[in-house]
Structure formats: C-alpha cells, structure tokens
C-alpha cells in the first residue's frame, strides 16, 4: 500500500484523461459494484421467498390430512334395554363402545365381508365412538330402537393407513393394530363402510384424550384465542393510545417522562415468559382470578402488547405534520379538540397497524400461557355464554398446537400442523379486518 497522502503520479500522456464515451476501469468497477449490490438485494428477497414457499408447502402438506378423517359409517340401532344398561354403568362410554362394536361384528357377519375377522380386530380398528353415541342418544331418546346412521372415527393407525403414514411394508404388529387387520380394513373400504370424510369435528370440536386422536378438534381453543384477543384489544388499545397521546402531546419534557419512555422501550424487549410469571403471581395468586381462563391469558398478553402499541402509536402521532395542529389551534380549537378531531384520526392507520402487529404477536404466544394453566389438557368444549367465555377454562390455539405436538401418537402431530393452518387463517382474518379499517380511516393531504 502506498501512503494515503502521496500525490498520484501525473498522467504520462493525454490518453489517460477520462472520457464520457469510453468506460475506464474505475467506472466499470463502480458499475459492477452497483450491479452486484442490486443482485445481493434480489438474492436476499429470493432466499426469503424460497423459505416462505418451503414453509408454506410444508405446513399445507403436513396439515391438510388433519382436515380429513377416516370414518366408519354404518347404521346402528340401540335398544332401550342396552341404553338403560349402559347408562347404569360407571364407564358408560366404554359400554356404548362395546355395544356398538358387537353390533358392527354382527352386521359385518350378515353382510359377509371378504376377510376373516374377530371382535378384537374390530376393537382395534374402531376409535373411541362411545362419547359420540352417548351424546346422540341422550339428546334424542326418540331414536332408541330405530336405525341411526353414524359416522364414527376409526383408530389412529387405520387413519394413518389411509393417509400413507402407516404402510404394509415395515409394519410391526402391536396391540394397537396387526397386519391382518389391514386386510379387513381393505375389505371394509371396498364395501364402502370405511371411507375418508371431511373432518368437521377438527374445526368445531375440543381436545380429546391421548388415546383418541380422531376426536380431537381445535374449535374450542379458537374460541379461547378469540376471547383472549378481545381482552387484549379492549384493554391495550385504549390504554396504549391514551398513554401515547399523553406522552406525545401533553407531557412536559423532563427526566421523569424520559425515564418512562426508556422503560416502555425496554418493556417491549422483555421475554414473554416473564409476563407469564407476573400473571401467575399477580392475577391468580394475589387477585384470585380463575386459573386456565382466557381472561387471565388476555390480561397477561395485554401487558405484553402494550409497549408495542404505545411505541407504534407515538410514532404515528409524531408523523402527523405540526401544521395540522397549528392550524387547529390557530382557528381556536382547544388542545384536546386538536388532538381528538385532527391528530388522532390522521394517526389512526398507523395506530391500527401497530395494534395488529401487537395482536398477531399475542395470538402466537405460548410461553406466558404455560404458567397460568392454559397449556395442557383443557377439553372443555364451548363456553356457556359470553361472560363464561372469559372465565371458563379454555386453551388457546398455539397452546393447543404445542400440546398436540408433544403427544406420543403420530395422529396428533398431524393435528398440530392442521392447527397451524387454522391459526394462520385466524391471523389472516385479523389482518384483513385491520386493512379494511385502515382503508376507511386513511386520509391523504
């Protein structure tokens, strides 16, 4: 390297002078660097797109099977005696299951299915139909004694056989399913008794026990997430907007407000599990709010979302030109009128964007819910009424997905992916509502 201060050597002849027509080496290098820079940007976008596509394809491919379920569809008649007998037992759903399976064996024997089978094989093929049957006949006692068509989910491994999770080669006999059962399943599929159907229960149902993947649904936890989002929206938006308006428009500039500002920024970076611990200590153990309730989940997530909303609201308030304020004040509006009538409406699109980002973040959080009892087996079905929706135990979508992913039966893994699709759809709906609202509020000047 030459010394930086040394004077460059004088050109030897006229040809070294730069010309606009011919590109000299330096310009070429500069142009190449420019091209390279553009290419880097493009490559970054392509890498991002590539991963997005991979992610999307993986989610859809792994999750779509969760929306179909292998069902056994058959006419079933329950006699009054059997009904009374089953209701008289401790484990009623098991009794119904046994009655149903016995009836299925008889009906298959009458029809003559081209495969050998015994009652045990039927037990292995069927899922857990007891609860569905009991629910139906308890609600419709008039159906006793007449044939009712049921579509009952098959066992998880039979479902896996139809979806390609379980294959004949490499099949290991276990007490859950044996290779000979697959012949029976094929014969039943031929006869139209076993088939794949759209799994409405996955969209509307609640969680099920670990031995019953066919009965698991995400519906109840969608409701749980919905109520949590309501709490988050109706607490964090007004509090966040009020706080930012005060800080931005009214607060005096002093050390105290500086301190508050710094702390709000810091709070936005606090790990979400910390809010969970806080929620457990304050809301449940000190304030005695109910455990596993969307209300507490919503309160915890509100704490988490507030800094995001405050920061984005302040940014959008700052972006409103001072001339708007000056004009309002100049025409005799009070400070409050200028803020509420002019500044806030203009800042609304930015506020909504911030709120949606905050809500989306809150929707996907599992960690804070771990400590307040919303992660685990929470199979309560739908709440009875609006207020109960806040206080009755419920799970939330990410918590439900996490729980499913941790279960031993592979059938639940598929449900977890399906749950992710539902979660993304929920998020998409929220975003679309926000975009529509933003369009309505948007003003240009």
């Amino acid at each position: 390297m030459t010394d930086a201060t040394s004077i460059p050597a004088a050109p030897e002849d006229g040809r070294r002078k730069s010309s606009l027509r011919t590109l000299d080496a330096r310009t070429r290098r500069r142009n190449a660097a420019e091209k390279r820079f553009r290419f880097y940007g493009l490559a970054a976008i392509l890498v991002g797109l590539f991963f997005l596509v991979v992610l999307g394809v993986t989610i859809v491919r792994s999750g779509l099977p969760a929306f179909t379920q292998t069902v056994v569809s058959i006419d079933f008649t329950l006699s009054e005696e059997d009904y009374a007998k089953a209701e008289g037992q401790l484990f009623k759903t098991k009794a119904y299951e046994q009655i149903f399976n016995a009836a299925l064996v008889t009906s298959l024997e009458e029809r003559g299915v081209e495969a050998e089978f015994d009652a045990k094989a039927i037990n292995r093929i069927m899922g857990k139909p007891g609860a569905t049957i009991r629910e139906h006949f308890r609600a419709n006692e008039g159906d006793l004694g007449t044939p009712v068509q049921f579509e009952l989910s098959a066992a998880s491994r039979v479902d896996g056989y139809f979806k390609g999770r379980v294959t004949r080669d490499g099949f290991v006999d276990s007490r859950f399913l044996q290779a000979s059962d697959l012949d029976l399943v094929d014969a039943l599929a031929e006869a139209g008794i076993i088939r794949q159907a759209f799994n409405w229960n996955f969209i509307t149902g609640a969680d099920s026990g670990v031995d019953n993947p066919g009965g698991a649904g995400i519906g109840a936890s969608v409701v749980g997430s919905f109520f949590m989002m309501l709490v988050v929206l109706f607490l964090s938006l007004p509090i966040g907007v009020a706080a930012s308006i005060y800080l931005e428009e009214f607060a005096p500039q002093n050390r105290f407000t500086d301190l508050i500002e710094v702390n709000i920024s810091n709070l936005a970076a606090v790990p979400s599990i910390v809010f969970g611990i806080l929620g457990l200590a304050v809301f449940i153990q000190f304030m005695h709010l109910p455990q596993s309730a969307p209300l507490v989940g919503g309160l915890v997530l509100t704490l988490m979302t507030l800094p995001t909303i405050i920061i984005s609201t302040r940014a959008s308030l700052k972006a409103v030109p001072p001339s708007i304020r000056d004009a309002a004040l100049g025409l005799g509006a009070s400070k409050m009128q200028s803020v509420l009538h002019h500044v806030l409406p203009l800042a609304m699109p930015g506020i909504l964007t911030g709120t949606i980002i905050g809500l989306a973040q809150a929707l996907g959080e599992t960690a804070p819910l771990l400590l307040i009892g919303m992660v685990g087996f929470v199979a309560r079905g739908y709440p009875d009424g609006f207020i109960a929706g806040f206080t009755e135990p419920n799970s939330a979508m990410p918590a439900q997905i996490y729980t499913w992913a941790a279960r031993a039966d592979v059938g639940f893994y598929e449900k977890a992916w399906g749950g992710i699709i539902v979660l993304l759809l929920f998020l998409l709906t929220m975003n679309i509502i926000a975009i529509i609202l933003r369009r309505r509020f948007e003003r240009r000047w």
């Binding site: 276990s174 019953n212 309501l230 685990g376 199979a379 309560r380 206080t391």
Partner: protein, 343 residues
C-alpha cells in the same frame, strides 16, 4: 369514541366475572408428563361420563407439579399433583408449611422405563445397568482403579455392544423419571462395577458415595432432556448413535421408529414389568389435597373414577395405552373411598 365505551364495558365485565369466578368448578391437575397421558384419558372419560366439567390437566414434571400442589389450600391452587415418583419428605414438609397437611396418595399403576434407539441405528439390543453406568458416569472403574470416564464408544467396555459413539438422551432433573433412572440404573451399575466400593475406599462417606454414583458425565455425551418424550424422540431421530430413555407407553406408540433394548436380559413388556422381572420400573402416583374434597365438585369421584377397575384395571383404556396395572388396585380403591391420608 366508541372503543372507549366498549373497553369500559369490557373492563366492567372482567371485574364482575372475576368476582363471580372465584368458586372454581373444574378440577385442576398438574405434574408429571409421564402421568399426563393417563390423566388426560381419565379426564376426558370423566367429562363424557359424568355431569361434572372435564378436569384441566397440566404437565411440567413431577417436581414442578408437587411444588405447585404444596403452595397452599384454596381454589387458586391445584387439587391434584401427578407424580412419577413418590412424594419426598422435603416436599411433605414444604406442603405442611403452607397448610397442606392432609394428602391422599393414590398409586395408579406401574410404568417401565426403556432404553430405545433409532430403528435403523447401531444394534443397541441388550444393556445391563453396568453398561449404562460405564457409558454415562463421570468416574468409572478401569483395571481396578477409579478414573475419569475415558470411554467414547460402547464397545470399549463391552465387546458385545456396537462400535458406536456414546450419546444418551436422559430425562432432565425436573422429571420423576430421572430419579428412577438414577436409582434403578446408575446406582445398581455403580455397585455392580465396583465403583461404589472404590469410592468408599477412597475415603468418601456412604452418603457421599451414593450421591456420587448418581452423577452423569458433563462432557456432552449425556444430554438432559427437559421436555417431553417427543423431544427425546426428535433427538434420537437426528442422531443415529443416540440412545434415549422413554416410558414404555411412549415406546409402544412409536414402535415403527424405535427399537428397544433389553435390560439385564429382560425385555420390557407389560408382563415383565407387572411380574417385577424387568428391573427399571416405577409406580405412578397422584396426590389429592383432602381439604379440597367437598369444595371442588366431583374431586373425590374423579379419584375413584381414575382407579376404578373399568379404567385402571388390566382391560381398561389406561392399560390399553401402556400403563402396567396395579395388582393391588382393590386396596387403592378402598383407600380412596375412605379418604385415607398419608401417615
């Protein structure tokens, strides 16, 4: 602004409902992730078969569950703690300090702890406790002397084992399974290899030597798994040489991915565990706060439902899932019916 009104009403609802909801209706359960599957099966059946609401079952490990259980009496605390080990004296004392004195212990059955590896991986088919100890202890016996564990491959100390790198995924310390692993595998291996004797000879007291026997090496060949068995399974999937510790029920649900090793020549099955031939098994428990019986609706009924023959018996759904049913279930049923507390 309309949202101000809306949020005011939301706040009002929140406050009102908070006051109304202090009387809890559902049973709250937390604890062992090994007991969680069984508890969830029973909880679902309980909700389907009775008019009581389905209990809420949380996971998190035996120690964490018992800690929450012992935090006090009252509806803001859990009613039942699931545990894959017996409650410790220390925990009973912690409970008592917080006013939780009457605890009902319920044994629901037995679970085997199995050593399994990738189905296409090295042939880990037969282990003894000594093999596991030699592979995972920080100090082992080599040629009659206690030295820092020099082994990197299984075949170095047992020629019958595959020539593969030692890598084991064992349950983390917050899991009850870890304690059973320590006591039934490491401690036994420690004595069998003579390491225990050597430690005593080196001047350790009996207690110190016992504790030293339960330690695992920290050079990365033994990995603690704090999550559920699915995490162990994922680690095994990613490491062909890995050996993982699973519950029998989990292994039986994943026989297409895992192969199991015998322990001291015995294959883990429900039969060998029930007969006591398979050495690494443990009882599973849940603990009920007696003070909550009569306060939380259906609590006692739930406990009775859990241990009823129809559920926890050999033909019930719990055994179907992988629980080894307790031969003395009748005694447990009676104890629950009489609300017999510990001590």
């Amino acid at each position: 602004m309309s949202f101000v009104k809306l949020s005011a009403s939301a706040l009002a609802i929140a406050v009102l409902s908070a006051n109304a909801a202090t009387a809890r209706e559902q049973i709250q359960i937390a604890g062992s992730s090994t007991v969680l599957p069984y508890a969830s099966i029973v909880a679902e059946a309980f909700g389907d078969n009775t008019d009581f609401p389905t209990p809420v079952v949380e996971s998190g490990g035996s120690s964490a569950g018992l800690k929450r259980f012992c935090q006090g009496v009252g509806t803001e605390h859990t009613d039942i703690a699931n545990s894959s080990r017996k409650i410790r004296e220390k925990e009973i004392a912690a409970c008592a300090a917080n006013g939780v004195t009457d605890i009902i212990e319920v044994r629901i059955g037995y679970d085997g702890i199995v050593f399994a590896s990738q189905i296409d991986g090295p042939a880990y088919t037969a282990f003894t406790q000594s093999d596991i100890f030699n592979a995972l202890a920080p100090k082992v016996m080599v040629d009659g002397a206690l030295v820092d564990n020099p082994y990197t491959k299984w075949s170095e100390f047992n020629a019958d084992l595959p020539d593969a790198e030692i890598l084991a995924f064992i349950p983390g310390t917050k899991h009850g399974t870890r304690e059973v692993f320590e006591e039934k595998v490491l401690a036994t291996g420690c004595e069998a290899t003579g390491a225990f004797e050597a430690m005593m000879a080196a001047g350790m007291s009996e207690d110190e030597a016992e504790d030293a026997c339960l330690e695992v090496r920290t050079d990365g060949r033994s990995v603690d798994i704090d999550g559920d068995y699915t995490e162990t399974l994922a680690s095994i999937d990613a490491n062909a040489n890995g050996v993982g510790v699973f519950g029998l029920a989990f292994y039986e649900n994943n026989t297409d991915k895992l192969k199991v090793a015998t322990m001291a020549g015995v294959e883990p099955t429900t039969e060998t565990i029930a007969s006591g031939d398979y050495p690494v098994s443990r009882p599973l428990f849940f603990y009920i706060k007696k003070a909550h019986i009569g306060v939380i609706p259906g609590l006692k009924l739930f406990a009775q439902f859990f241990v009823a023959d129809e559920l926890a018996g050999p033909d019930g759904p719990l055994a179907q899932y992988g629980l080894v049913s307790d031969p003395e279930l009748a005694a447990t049923q009676e104890a629950v019916a009489n609300e017999e507390t510990m001590n």
